[in-house]
């Protein structure tokens, strides 16, 4: 029964041309986005691999020099491009992927692509994720707004209902047809995406990337499913097609174009991020206080590098300074990043009213281009930096500077450089990502249930005339 209804609806849309035009247009955009995403990604990935390799190679090839100099010059950590960034670049355009690992301070990312972007950046980036989040619902609206309202206007609905069909069956059949129409769009796109992602993924990442893609695609099925039921529900509740489409377009504009901005502004107002100045001042004050305490404890003075600290103890002093700063950095950056994750949590919950927010979070999360993933990279880079520092300081402690005034005269051998392993960061697995996205997934599921309930409610109470 259901299939019969679904098949007829699908065939009708096929024959009236809507499917061709609407789906065709979106499909063209999707393929363009995939192609562009793929070429960007492969370029960036190749570049990043070469750069990271050359960083380590040059580190190993350093001549004999003072370990602290080496620590000051440091190394760069380049964030490897996620294979799934092809379909959803997430926050990557707004956050950099290069961290400079240098002595004495925890660095944040150096450059971000947005600083080099044109003014049109604000309109959005063409990506598969953007198209599906913004244009996907519009497609569902265009294909389904008159599913009930149109039949009601023409008189077919009363004929159908007079046959003794349960309205809910009718709803499910029409929903299946709409989903099938959307599937005509999604399935080729998903296959193409799978192909692109597999090509773009590195060794050993392919399986993980495909798992991510499957979960990611499933999320979009949920998201578009919400709209399928919403559109059908509104169509059933509207007396005319015109009313249906006006209402649906207004809802679409509200949730797609307006809600993300309004909620971000609200978030900014409710829990503002500290300014750079405030953050630095707080951090520096904390660092100084901690450092002073440590120096007082160890050397009995807070005068740095003064007469109370013999040259032979400089290694110890450096080591102590570094070690005492680590918890301070963790505290301050941790607090900042926790605030951001809290803000994002709020946005995900508002996905109950505005599904696009939950979908955006989920899409970025499964693609590996959200802040949670970036945080793992930042943390790993910082852990590596600390490793380098500790190794250098330990060496200095062992080989305390000797000769009188000639500080920084000790030159370490290349064996020291070799004792530092290469920076190896593996992005978290698909299951980790899915675990982190439990909330947005839950919101999407809840949204689907709510909209299905809404559609069932309006369909069973709809007027036949």
């Amino acid at each position: 029964m259901l299939l019969r209804i679904a098949k007829r609806e699908f065939v009708e849309r096929l024959r009236d041309g809507r499917l061709h035009w609407a789906v065709g247009l979106v499909l063209v955009l999707l393929m363009t986005a995939l192609f562009v995403g793929y070429s960007h990604q492969s370029e960036a990935r190749a570049e990043q691999q070469v750069a990271q390799a050359s960083e380590y190679r040059d580190w190993l090839r350093q001549d004999r020099r003072h370990p602290h100099d080496a620590a000051h010059q440091g190394m760069h950590a380049f964030k490897p491009g996620a294979a799934m960034a092809i379909v959803d670049p997430g926050i990557n355009p707004y956050i950099g992927s290069t961290i400079w690992l240098q002595a004495h301070r925890q660095s944040e990312v150096k450059f971000n692509p947005a600083q080099d972007a044109t003014g049109l950046q604000r309109f959005g980036n063409l990506s598969v994720g953007w198209i599906l989040q913004v244009l996907g619902p519009l497609l569902v609206i265009v294909l389904g707004f008159n599913a009930f309202a149109g039949e009601r206007e023409q008189g077919i609905l009363r004929q159908t209902l007079s046959l003794g069909i349960s309205p809910v069956r009718l709803l499910l059949g029409k929903a299946a047809a709409l989903l099938a129409c959307v599937g005509v769009l999604l399935i080729p796109a998903a296959l193409a995406a799978a192909f692109a992602v597999t090509l773009g993924a590195g060794e050993g990442e392919r399986m993980d990337a495909l798992l991510r893609l499957s979960a990611w695609a499933a999320g979009y099925v949920l998201y578009l499913g919400i709209f399928v039921f919403l559109v059908l529900g509104v169509s059933a509740a509207s007396s005319t097609s015109r009313m249906a489409i006006t209402l649906l377009l207004a809802l679409w504009i509200g949730q797609t174009v307006m809600a993300p901005r309004m909620l971000s502004e609200a978030s900014r107002a409710l829990s503002p991020t500290p300014t750079r100045l405030q953050f630095n001042q707080a951090l520096n004050a904390d660092l100084k206080a901690t450092s002073d305490r440590m120096w007082q404890q160890t050397f009995g003075t807070t005068e740095r590098w003064g007469k109370d600290v013999p040259l032979s103890k400089w290694g110890v002093a450096l080591q102590m300074d570094d070690q005492s700063s680590y918890p301070v950095y963790d505290r301050h950056f941790g607090r900042l990043w926790d605030t951001w994750e809290g803000q994002q949590r709020l946005q995900e919950w508002s996905g109950l009213a505005f599904p696009i927010l939950a979908m955006r979070a989920y899409s970025m999360g499964m693609a590996g281009t959200d802040f949670a993933h970036h945080r793992t990279f930042s943390t790993a880079a910082e852990a590596y930096r600390r490793r380098i520092q500790d190794l250098m300081s330990a060496d200095l402690v062992k080989n305390a500077d000797t000769g009188g005034e000639r500080h920084f005269s000790y030159q370490a051998s290349p064996d020291l450089w070799a004792s530092v392993p290469p920076f190896s960061y593996r992005a978290p697995s698909a299951s980790w990502a899915l675990g982190h996205q439990a909330r947005s997934l839950l919101v999407l599921l809840a949204g689907l249930s709510l909209s299905a309930l809404f559609a069932t409610f309006t369909t069973s109470r709809q007027r036949a005339l």
Partner: protein, 479 residues
């Protein structure tokens, strides 16, 4: 026209739309003001911090010269190498323009403050603001957003059935049987709607901005009045484009429902899709040079420079145990070899990287130029760029800020390098002569000319559409 106004005022939907528009604009303007005020406060705090640091350093110098305080190696205001570097660096700040609250634009993406030191530019000219990237991705709810995205929809809502409603209800025949030209009819209908929509779109923000300026909440700047006038023109030209599109669509004589559908599709293509595609096209044709490559090159050059000056770096701290070594003597000061080494390294790095960094600047300029030319394909892009340019949050003003910062950097280096080279100690009077960044605002003529070009780029397609409409209307089927 009075009839039309009466008819229209009876229609509740017009008032509903007008009211909604008013609310949206009100919220957007308030939001813009709040954000700009926050930004201004943050910048003022930075400025004050700089001033108080400088004052404290000056006081310390006086104390040191009076023998009341001992200098430390990293805390010595008499040492020009320290004052030129991180210890004494000063900020270059880009203040908000008078119309800033109107379009927040790129103000959170482009850095608006740099801490200038004698380091190479690549070290300090980076985004420094902290913001949750999710918010950066979402964008702003400012007036530019409401006008560029939402105003066209509201224009559609009140005028999509400009002619088709009259035709469908049969009154068009009756109207045209009077001595009334179709042109006059249309003009009358359009002007009423234009007034209802453009009134709040232009008057409300202008009013609010004037009030805010009186209350000292926003910057003044020269020629703010003329800039505001150009902004009003830009908004009117953008609205005119959409009205022209509505008239053209109506001229084809389709039903109201078809008109509405065509207009919405046009909105999706012109406002949502076209700018995104344009952005993509421009960045493909004129790609940004690689930052990764820049980072690697910086490191390699630094390593080479460090090797060249390894001797200087591997030296001593004479001051240990001998605080007097840090004191200025006869106007000269002993700069530690390591500091001199770092100075030399930064100087060489600065020179070596300059060509590459200039390439970045040139590439951005090319992108902007290309965008200016092809932007015409999307009125939304033209309007948005125009609004941000007038509000001072666009790419051109920012490029000017970058250029002025580079000049300031040169002046800064020009002041401190001779002092370092000659080991001249700083005296308190020097603090008055240390270069300070002073922002030179864009000449109003330049701003207004760019706005005029944008208005022209919006009027051209409008004229074409009106022409198309006129041609079709000749053959209009009245029933």
């Amino acid at each position: 026209m009075r009839q039309e106004f009466k008819l229209l005022s009876a229609e509740r939907s017009l008032w509903a739309v007008g009211l909604m528009f008013l609310l949206l604009i009100g919220y957007a303007v308030a939001n813009g003001l709040a954000q700009t005020a926050t930004r201004d406060r943050a910048q003022a705090a930075v400025w004050e911090a700089d001033q108080s640091t400088r004052a404290a350093q000056r006081a310390r110098l006086e104390a040191i010269r009076a023998g009341l305080a001992t200098p430390l190696p990293f805390d010595n205001p008499a040492d020009p190498s320290g004052m030129a570097g991180n210890y004494g660096g000063h900020h270059a700040v880009l203040p908000s323009a008078a119309l800033g609250p109107v379009a927040l634009g790129q103000s959170d993406l482009f850095p608006s403050q740099f801490r200038v030191t004698n380091q190479s530019r690549v070290g300090f000219m980076n985004p420094s603001d902290i913001e949750n990237p999710w918010h950066l991705l979402s964008g702003h709810f400012d007036l530019a957003f409401v006008l560029v995205y939402l105003m066209p929809l509201l224009i559609f809502a009140v005028s999509y059935n400009l002619l088709s409603a009259e035709r469908e209800s049969g009154t068009l025949r009756l109207l045209l049987s009077q001595p009334l030209r179709l042109r006059t009819l249309l003009a009358g209908k359009l002007s009423v709607r234009a007034v209802v929509l453009l009134g709040p779109a232009v008057l409300l923000p202008v009013g609010v901005l004037l009030l805010a300026r009186q209350a000292g909440l926003t910057g003044t700047g020269t020629a703010a009045g003329t800039t505001t006038m150009w902004w009003a023109f830009l908004v009117a030209a953008y609205a005119l484009f959409w009205f022209a599109l509505v008239v053209a669509v109506n001229a084809f004589g389709a039903s109201s429902a078809t008109n509405a559908m065509v207009l919405v599709i046009a909105w999706v293509l012109l406002v949502l899709v076209a700018p995104v595609l344009l952005n993509l096209a421009v960045t493909q044709v004129v790609p940004t040079p690689s930052r990764t490559e820049l980072a690697t090159r910086t490191r390699v050059l630094t390593a080479e420079a460090m090797k060249r000056h390894a001797d200087l770096l591997a030296t001593d701290y004479e001051h240990v145990g001998r605080g007097a070594a840090l004191l200025p003597q006869d106007g000269k000061i002993n700069i530690s070899a390591r500091a001199l080494g770092n100075y030399a390294i930064q100087r060489e790095l600065d020179d070596a990287l300059r060509p590459q960094l200039e390439r970045f600047d040139r590439q951005q300029q090319h992108q902007q130029e290309l965008l200016g030319r092809v932007g015409m394909l999307s009125p939304a892009a033209v309007a948005f760029e125009g609004m941000t340019a007038l509000a001072g949050t666009g790419a051109r003003r920012h490029a000017r800020f970058v250029a002025q910062t580079v000049d300031f950097h040169k002046t800064w280096k020009g002041f401190f390098y001779p002092l370092i080279d000659n080991r001249t100690a700083l005296v308190p009077q020097d603090f008055d002569r240390v270069p300070a960044f002073s922002w030179q605002e864009e000449p109003p003529a330049l701003v207004h000319r760019a706005a005029a070009i944008a208005v022209f780029q919006l009027l051209m397609p409008s004229l074409l559409l009106f022409g198309l409409a006129a041609w079709r209307l000749r053959r209009l089927c009245v029933s």
